[in-house]
Symmetry: C2
Subunit: 319 residues, 2 copies
């Protein structure tokens, strides 16, 4: 029988999403499990395999699944390992042979692994706004800043499978913020949801400018968005600042791989109305003349709830 | 008859080098012509074609040449055009169909064109220190800073043929030097031979520190090297500064494409004894832990006089 379905798994620090997907990108069944971090890797993988099997039954496609695609922090496409992922307890201090172990639990079904941002890029190329594009850079703006780089229609993995860590390129060289990775000035420390919240707190602390944000205790990037919607001047300047820093770095990335487009994805990308103009200005101000106005800035069009599953599942078509 | 020879052509702003090369990378005959810039493109291409024919005769390989590979500023692999190259009078303000025109002058012999830094990368991969490598970044440190990026054993051209303009990524964000491209703070404005000379003049002007360089009128990067060899403290600090800036940017590039190595080439790379340590330190200080100490910094081993011809000729093997 022809195997016309795949499974997509998105492993996050808090929850893991599982979905059965057909060739059109329709999700036939899906579920969410808690990403247990206090158990062993083998225990978590057994729980995940059970959830995958249940979804296959629920979708009524037993025996017709080609394979499983998994997107996970620090997932390595070449080795099938998840190694030293700070947010995944069972892989925080060691390298876990994730693809091999999961495949064994699924009676030998093939498993393909990559990191979450690469999975998002594959999803965008297969089902989303980058469909048909051969050269683009996907930037995921979530808790952190991730990236998936597509060259000649294929994800760039580099010599070791870890290419595309654009969130940890340097955005602010001198007196830059400390990043979660231990370095300073990383793009992620400024242009993630966390980075936006950090900018808000820093700016509120260093001035007495009135702002709707002053009445809040714990500020999130969503709060900054809501304030900007109400015309709050400080919140609007936070998006200008964030967009400028991102646009400056995008210019460097464009000069590296000459893509047709940059695609933005993730929670912070929903603030498009405030981010798009400053990103575009900084991007075009900082590229060589030959690229000015030539590279598209796109925002992901995938349904937010399905996007992670679709991205991971798209990997499995190549199995 | 099997075609066992190729021709390599390196077009520079002042001279153009032509060589006939065999499969081992031995140069059988070569010559240099002036890169006329006041003539028309068609006139220059006729002169170049004559020089190519003479070299083929001199090498005694008539009828055995597979094709011609050309490296030139702003040479585009996809289109075969040289467009808006400031230093080439006949292509400074227009796009010249170089490959097509040269092929016509050579009775239909195939011609492949790319920019000079990409040609250097191909040469290094075919005959040089990057032989057998699938992932590396070539940086040419000459009058300017060029780059050729190799991914999966192939030069990265991107969507438009212009990928790899790393010399124009931003090294100094605020109050950066004006670059020849019109932007400010570009890597090229600091880490080219011209950039080193500029650092020397700036530093001499802004202090009264004694230095061997003070007695010179027009300072070149070679003068800075000679002074450093004699232990001149200011000259040594110029190389530390130059190496640090280059190393910081190399860290960003590594986080983009995860190469096995970075290869340095060109006149300034001959100052290896002063540049290597500060480049390595800054590079390893600015990459994620997973790459610390993992990416090699190599210096081109190709014979300087042959390197440009070999690089361009290597392109022609794929014709």
């Amino acid at each position: 029988m022809d195997k016309k379905y795949v499974v997509g798994v998105d492993i996050g620090g808090t929850t893991s999403k599982i979905g059965v997907v057909d060739m059109r990108g329709d999700v036939l069944s899906q579920s969410v499990i808690k990403t247990e971090t206090t158990v062993t890797a083998v225990e978590f993988i057994k729980m995940l395999a059970d959830a995958i099997k249940q979804n296959i039954v629920k979708a009524g496609v037993e025996g017709q699944v080609r394979g499983v695609g998994v997107g996970a922090p620090n997932g390595n496409y070449y080795t099938g390992c998840i190694a030293f992922a700070p947010n995944l307890g069972w892989a925080a201090h060691e390298s876990v042979e994730f693809s091999k172990l999961l495949s064994e639990e699924l009676d030998g079904m093939p498993v393909s692994l990559t990191n979450d941002a690469n999975a998002a890029a594959v999803g965008e190329m297969t089902y989303g706004i980058a469909k048909g594009m051969k050269h683009f850079i996907m930037i995921t703006l979530g808790t952190g800043v991730g990236s998936g780089i597509v060259i000649n229609g294929e994800v760039l993995y580099g010599s070791d499978g870890f290419a595309g860590e654009l969130g940890h390129t340097c955005a602010v060289r001198h007196n830059g913020r400390l990043c979660g990775c231990g370095k300073t000035g990383c793009l992620e420390a400024y242009c993630s949801a966390t980075g936006v919240a950090r900018t808000a707190r820093e700016w509120l602390d260093s001035s007495t400018e009135p702002s709707l944000l002053r009445q809040l205790n714990a500020i999130t990037s969503k709060d900054v968005y809501d304030a900007a919607k109400q015309g709050d001047a400080l919140a609007l300047r936070i998006f200008d600042f964030t967009g400028r820093i991102l646009g400056e770095k995008l210019a460097d990335f464009i000069q590296f791989s000459a893509p047709e487009a940059v695609v933005l994805f993730g929670g912070l990308a929903r603030s498009r109305e405030f981010l798009e103009a400053p990103i575009l200005k900084a991007m075009n101000d900082n590229v060589l003349p030959l690229w000015k106005g030539k590279v598209e800035l796109l925002f992901s069009s995938l349904k937010e709830s399905d996007a992670a599953i679709l991205g991971a599942s798209a990997l499995a078509w190549e199995l």
